[in-house]
Amino acid sequence: MRQIVAGKIADTVCQMCISANYYIDPQVIECIEKARKSETSPLGKKILEMMLENYRLAAEKQMPICQDTGVAVVFAEVGQDVKILGGTLEEAINDGIRRGYKEGFLRKSMVADPLFDRKNTTDNTPAIIHLRLVAGNSLKLIVAPKGGGSENMSTIAMMKPADGVEGVTDFVLKTVKNAGGNPCPPIIVGVGIGGNFEQCALLAKRALLRPLNDVHPDESYGNLEKELLEKINQLNVGPQGFGGKTTALAVKIEHMPCHIASLPVAVNIQCHVHRHLEKTL
């Protein structure tokens, strides 16, 4: 058994929250620079330029790229030969979030009760933690702060198998069109297909963790990603919803086996302030 001290996990999560919120994924910069060149709307072009300037200023001034520093979503892959000393994994992660959001001057955006008194927990905990037990003796952590504006535009549908590729395509396009300018386009579209109701939503979220410039290993899904991206960018939503060719920077699909009766589809919308950092202990 390999031993990892809980305090080390907390330190790591603390640093990851801060870095993820100050420094944009360099691939987003690449995508926006490319989009700026091909964007035909003058206002759209100007907005994309302002976004690039904002990423630069955030890094320079060590400030959050966006004031919505998000719900702290943490994916943890725990090797089954790892033993955590001095506390539970969940406590360690929440301790890291608590410290990271305080030390990094990040916004605390969690309310304890969602419906009645909606009182802020004041330290951005609890994190939303997705655990996976895997082979080996290491601990992989992914911290992905997620803003409320784009999360609110996400959708799920329990479709019929007969709906097929056409049904899925229509649903994704409808979701992006209805979201319009609300989720701060240009967006990244995470699509989950298969599994069941709860697994499908998680697939859509996990899809967002893939590198923006990768190609899906399955050719059919790779082609569907490409086709969806083209169709989304013909919707004329554009940067911030003011029209233009740049509505999405990427579409990523993750899929899983599902029931003979089902075709679950989930769309998780991510704003251009796409934050995710990975570290293995």
């Binding site: 904002n54 790229i65 004031q67 001057f105 609110n152 319009g180 609300n182 704003c271």
Partner: protein
Amino acid sequence: MEKRIKTPLMPDVVSGLFAGDSVLITGTIYTARDAAHKRLAALLEQGKELPFDPEGAVIFYVGPSPAKPGAVIGSAGPTTSYRMDTYSPALMAAGVRGMVGKGPRSHAVVEAMKQHGAVYFAAIGGAAVVIAQSIQKAEVIAYDDLGAEAIRRLEVKDFPCIVAIDAEGKSLYA
């Protein structure tokens, strides 16, 4: 190219703003988002005074990140506006003449804008550090218990935004 305007918003200024105009705002603006709007609406319903003078006021839908030591404010970009749609007509009836957020508004909000002569500005979502550079002073004036959602009085200079929907109801959103 850019129109420079001052707050509070006067009727002649509002009527000279058109959807698509790039605008730089200078003066006092107030922050309020979901939780603060709920409280403001309750005050209006009870016929009580608002914690700021609504006459010609501009409300910025924002919950800024905390200021670092020595800084005026943290990052301060707009939040999505439709969540305030329920409350906005009553605030315009009370005198509010400008709203700053992101994303489209409801039919009822646009109708109230036309009725009262108010304008809806879009600030760029995810340009929070750029926007923060235009904020020269920030002070919590109400609902401190709401943290990021408290109402702040901001003094801004050349705050960058775009007229998304003008007082005639013309909109940049498809």
